[in-house]
């Protein structure tokens, strides 16, 4: 951390120390002030008093008690962090084994699952009170704070929540009350999505560098931050924010600026329709698949504009290549996605996932040979549409400097990467949902349910966690997506880049006919198996499915085996030996 130099940080350690001291004092002081304010609010408004719950108190309670309290606590925590950041770094360093951090993350997500489920179930099932209106705005609402409190007290059915624990914190009612408005719920969900989406590229870039390092027998980022360069992305981010924003003359300035957003916003918007789990979706669109494809498609425009507006030959070439490539690959991509759609009979991603429950042998990728092929076609096409290697022509450094990115720098440049990494996650997630059972567990759900019941944890939080981990839920989804994300990196650092004519040849002359054949064959196959019920075909179908499942299992086992071998013999690898000689390792 000490390597970071911020512009306003004085060169001398003395000044740095004085800045730090004054920051600590101000933060903690301000925090205490807020806490005091919150306390005064508590005293005045008496939100704990069950009998004195009132709708009119909502805003003051939220602002004074909850808002001020949380702000105060945050400020104080910030002050403490500034005071003890070296110690925190040491603590993080202590967690040499990533597993602990990972487990903590998983537990946190499980908790979020639980909270999420609780709140939304509550709002959904709460009894409707009288029709009230918010005084000034005149917006009608049905649930008063008191109703909410009563509902929470009696604990709504269907929520995995220990009945014996009485809710004695009435402010929670104030806190939850706004959630009855769709807009508020949307805003909260959007906050969640934006938070998640911002984590993806930060994590992804770091991970990519690590993967690249490992594959190329080096360590990857090791310096910034303590443990394996965990702060590298943050440091890069800060660096990029403060880098000079260079805009080429002669280009179209407005479009130069706009292009970034056209590249970066659509992948974000894809999360509107991308479900993380059954209820974990911002809008469960009935055309979710198409919507996501559309969002991935619009990105091209931004790239073209970026190239155009840069007023640079390399940029235009890169943009043109990109456009050709992405537009062409959209076709095999879309067509291969039709196969799971055909299997499930819906464009709704939740419905498609629901059709794949009950064990990994029910995943569409194993459903029949055509689906199996379609999965790989999709995956290849999605690589191209994310302009990942081996299809990273648009930014091939050796020919085009950096393609359409050549003239970009600083924050704009980073936003392109932001968009790219988000898109990578989106296509991986789509693959998971359509082919790999989405958020469904590889093992049948009854098994998990039975196990939970036998453990006697059916009604408590342990059960919730077990279900979230092994039955279904966003964690499974994110894990699967992360695996495919990882495979993308793996491919990138393994395969060489191909030429543009080869790219287009591969699409138009190989993938496209193949997809068509697969589409047709799959149609006939399903027709034969499901509709006409041809005996021989059903037999063949069952046989092939087991073969495919076996292939899947063997692949998974092989990968795990290789990983274990590598982990065990990491010291024997050349890379590690090289790494040991690096400074700071």
């Amino acid at each position: 951390m000490s390597q970071i130099t911020l512009p306003w940080v004085a060169r001398s350690p003395e000044k740095l120390a004085s800045y730090r001291r004054s920051a600590i004092v101000r933060l903690i002081g301000l925090g205490l002030l807020h806490v005091a304010l919150a306390f005064a609010g508590f005293l005045w408004l008496e939100p704990f008093n069950e009998a004195k719950l009132a709708d009119w108190k909502i805003v003051p309670v939220l602002v004074l008690c909850v808002g001020a309290g949380l702000a105060g606590l945050t400020l104080i925590a910030g002050g403490l962090a500034v005071a003890t950041y070296e110690r925190i770094g040491r603590i993080l360093k202590w967690g040499y084994n990533a597993f602990a951090v990972f487990l903590g993350g998983v537990l946190a997500v499980c908790l979020i699952v639980w909270l999420h489920a609780f709140v939304f179930e509550l709002v959904k099932t709460s009894p409707s009170g009288g029709t009230n209106t918010i005084p000034v705005l005149g917006i009608p609402y049905s649930l008063s704070v008191h109703d909410l409190y009563k509902a929470m007290e009696s604990t709504s059915p269907g929520i995995p929540f220990d009945k014996n624990v009485r809710l004695t914190i009435p402010p929670l009612a104030y806190l939850l009350w706004p959630l009855q408005f769709g807009l508020v719920r949307d805003l909260v969900a959007m906050g969640g999505i934006i938070g998640f989406v911002s984590i993806i590229p930060a994590f992804g870039i770091w991970w990519e560098r690590k993967v690249a390092g490992r594959i190329q027998s080096r360590m990857g980022p090791m310096r910034t931050g303590g443990w394996h360069g965990w702060a590298q992305s943050a440091a890069d981010g800060i660096k990029l924010v403060f880098k000079e924003d260079f805009i080429p003359s002669g280009g179209d300035t407005l479009l130069f600026k706009l292009a970034v957003y056209i590249v970066f916003i659509p992948p974000l918007l894809a999360f509107i329709a991308l479900p993380f789990a059954g209820a974990w979706v911002f809008r469960d669109l009935d055309v979710a698949l198409l919507f996501i494809l559309a969002m991935l498609g619009i990105e091209v425009l931004g790239v073209i504009l970026a190239g155009w507006a840069s007023n640079n030959k390399w940029s235009v070439y890169g943009a043109m290549r990109e456009a050709c490539q992405m537009v062409s690959y959209e076709i095999p991509m879309g067509m291969s996605l039709l196969i799971p759609v055909m299997m499930a009979g819906s464009l709704q991603l939740t419905a498609i996932t629901d059709a794949q429950g009950g064990g990994f042998w029910n995943w569409f990728v194993f459903a029949n040979p055509w689906c199996f092929i379609a999965f790989f076609i999709y995956y290849a096409a999605s690589l191209a549409s994310c302009k990942r290697a081996p299809f990273d022509l648009p930014e091939s450094e050796s020919e085009l400097v950096a393609g359409f990115l050549t003239e970009y720098s600083g924050m704009r440049w980073s936003l392109f990467f932001f968009g790219e990494y988000v898109a990578m996650f989106v296509v991986s997630g789509l693959a998971v949902i359509l082919f790999l059972g989405g958020w469904k567990s590889p093992i049948p759900e009854e098994w998990v349910e039975n196990a939970v019941v036998q453990m006697g944890a059916a009604e408590n939080m342990i059960g919730t966690i077990i279900r979230g981990l092994f039955k279904e839920g966003p964690i499974l989804f994110i894990l699967k997506a992360a695996f495919l994300y990882y495979v993308q990196m793996w491919i990138r650092w393994t395969l060489p880049r191909i030429r543009i004519d080869q790219v287009l040849y591969a699409c138009v002359q190989v993938l496209l006919p193949l997809t068509m054949i697969v589409l047709l064959a799959n149609t006939l196959w399903i027709l034969g198996v499901e509709h006409l019920k041809l005996g021989w075909l059903v037999t063949v179908d069952t046989g092939i499915r087991w073969v495919l499942v076996a292939i899947g299992v063997l692949t998974a086992m092989g990968m795990i085996g290789i990983a274990m071998y590598g982990y065990k013999n990491n010291r024997r690898l050349v890379g590690s030996q090289a790494a040991n000689q690096l400074p700071g390792s």
Binding site: M342, M343, A344, G345, N362, T523, I526, E530
Partner: protein, 579 residues
């Protein structure tokens, strides 16, 4: 595993009879596929492609001819609901026949052009695959234009006819004029089709259906369409007016005709207009059938009549200054479209009470006119083409002294030109006479006078061509013309002369026979579905009282084309359950 496909498998499917009913259209699609497959199988062989296309056109024409020659049948369907997508009757079969016969002739012309070896010919021989795909595609679109009453299908058909036409216009890639022609064509086409679609959207808003017959029924019940609906209807017709190059949507026509290769120009000059007129007639006949008070749509009829008069006059007057033969013939074709549009206007007027079994005079006039126009225009273009292939020039000066250089061509050209003027004893006169007769019958004397005086002024520029060929000889060398071309031109000229003299009655009888069927598609009396299960009538339309079936074998109060479709109730019920 509940799969989507299972639901599909249980869905309604068109029956084999349904598919057979639109046979000629399959002819075109089949040819398209055959050419593609042949291109894959034997490579880019222009002879194979040309033969296949000719074969396809012939087969299509034969299928259409079978319908034309069979006793009047009427079929409308290819949809499980009461919204037929295709209509197959004498009317459509006639136009399909027209298009396919013309295509056959144009293929002959193309063949000669390929052999002519001119450097600026249509395309390299290897590109014939693309050329024919586009040509047949536009033919398919044109056939569809006359085979449907559904707004969506009409829009699709117009586009299907237009888009390949744009492409074949710009087909000569090395040719700047062709590119410019294509540009203008596509721009005008796009603008008019957009306006057409906007009009269609408003029509849909008011009538809640895309089926023109249904709209016609509503108009019959509700009476006059409102101003907005009139405007929408007119906006919808704009796209069609573009196809027939009616003023003021004609600006593309001369440029496109000049820029496109001569085979393409020939093709567009007749086929596109024929299809446009067919569509216009179809729309009008379906919308105005048995309207209680014919005056309700008079404003629109007047608009069309004014458009027709303008088209005619502008076309003829603009032709005066032209020095390029193709351009001259383009304006001539605009003028001829104007004559035919006049008859369209009176179809609109004369909707009061179509008599059973008697040909509609206006429609009969159009059929006669367009049949003759096809032959004489092809002939004229053929001669221009042969001169072009021999000299490389399309200007009127290239015709100088043709009487000496190639007497046969010159004589044929004179026949075609004066047939285009409308002089007896050429077929053009008979066609025009029947047209004037129809106009008179509808008591639109002003149109008669406009038509007649246009004939007079058109004489001048046609005579100019004749003058160039016969009077002004600037000593250009004699030209060699292919035997096939001479034969084709002679045949065309003989047909023109035949229809103008001995065969005039035959022409009229032929037109009348075709014209009997104009209202068949909206008349339940003779509407019979070809499907075998059509005997189970169980969907009785509430508006059935509008037409008391004259034919005792059909069920009264039964609304025409729904007879056969209702039999599929089971299917559509299952369909509903499947949702």
């Amino acid at each position: 595993m509940p799969t989507g496909l299972l639901i599909l498998a249980d869905m309604w499917m068109p029956s084999a009879d349904d598919l057979a009913a639109i046979g000629p259209l399959w002819g075109f699609v089949g040819t398209l596929v055959a050419i593609l497959v042949a291109a894959l199988a034997v490579g880019r062989n222009w002879r194979v492609t040309g033969m296949l296309a000719a074969l396809g056109a012939a087969v299509t024409g034969w299928m259409a001819l079978r319908t034309v020659m069979s006793p009047p049948t009427n079929w409308a369907g290819l949809s499980p609901n009461n919204s037929p997508m295709f209509v197959a009757d004498q009317f459509s079969a006639f136009f399909v026949l027209l298009v396919s016969v013309f295509m056959l002739l144009v293929i002959g012309m193309w063949w000669m052009g390929q052999n002519a070896g001119l450097p600026e010919r249509l395309s390299r021989k290897g590109d014939s695959v693309e050329f024919f795909i586009l040509l047949i595609g536009s033919a398919f679109g044109m056939s569809m234009m006359v085979s449907t009453t559904n707004l969506l299908m009409i829009v699709l058909a117009v586009e299907m006819a237009s888009l390949p036409s744009y492409a074949i216009t710009a087909f000569r890639k090395q040719h700047a004029k062709a590119a410019e022609a294509g540009l203008k064509y596509v721009l005008f086409g796009a603008v008019t089709s957009a306006i057409m679609i906007y009009g269609a959207s408003l029509l849909y808003g008011h009538y809640h259906t895309l089926d023109l017959a249904e709209i016609g029924r509503t108009i019959r019940i509700e009476g006059a369409p409102t101003l907005l609906m009139g405007v929408s209807l007119f906006a919808f017709m704009v796209g069609v007016a573009f196809k027939v190059s009616a003023v003021p949507f004609h600006f593309w026509c001369p440029d496109v005709f000049e820029g496109a290769a001569i085979e393409v120009t020939t093709w567009l000059s007749v086929a596109s207009k024929a299809a446009g007129l067919g569509l216009m007639l179809r729309i009008i006949s379906v919308l105005t059938f048995k309207i209680a008070s014919p005056e309700t749509l008079n404003t629109l009829a007047t608009a069309i009549a004014v458009m027709a008069a303008l088209t005619c006059t502008v076309g003829n007057l603009s032709a005066f200054r032209q020095t390029n033969m193709k351009r001259l013939l383009a304006f001539s074709s605009i003028a001829h479209a104007g004559y035919m549009l006049m008859a369209v206007a009176i179809v609109w007027m004369n909707n009061g009470s179509p008599t059973e079994g008697v040909a509609h005079p206006a429609f009969s006039a159009i059929v006669g006119y367009i049949s003759v126009y096809l032959v004489m225009n092809l002939g004229a273009f053929l001669v221009v083409a042969m001169v072009y292939w021999a000299t490389g020039s399309e200007s009127i000066d290239a015709m100088n002294g043709l009487m000496r250089r190639s007497p046969l061509l010159a004589v044929m050209m004179v026949v075609f030109l004066f047939s285009l003027v409308g002089l007896p004893p050429m077929g053009g006169f008979m066609a025009k006479l029947y047209l004037l007769y129809a106009l008179w019958d509808a008591t639109w004397y002003s149109l008669v006078i406009v038509a007649v005086f246009n004939t007079l002024i058109s004489l001048y520029y046609y005579a100019r061509v004749a003058r160039a060929m016969v009077f002004s000889d600037d000593g250009q060398p004699a030209i060699r013309v292919p035997m096939v071309g001479q034969a084709l031109a002679t045949v065309c000229a003989l047909v023109v002369l035949y229809t103008g003299t001995v065969g005039a009655g035959t022409l009229k009888a032929f037109s009348d026979d075709r014209a009997k069927d104009l209202y068949a598609v909206v008349k339940p009396g003779i509407a019979v579905h070809t499907a075998a299960e059509s005997a189970r009538p169980d969907s009785v339309n509430e508006n059935g009282t509008l037409w008391n079936g004259q034919n005792s074998t059909t069920v009264p109060n039964n609304d025409g084309w729904h007879i056969g479709l209702a039999a599929r109730k089971v299917d559509s019920d299952r369909n509903k359950n499947g949702e």
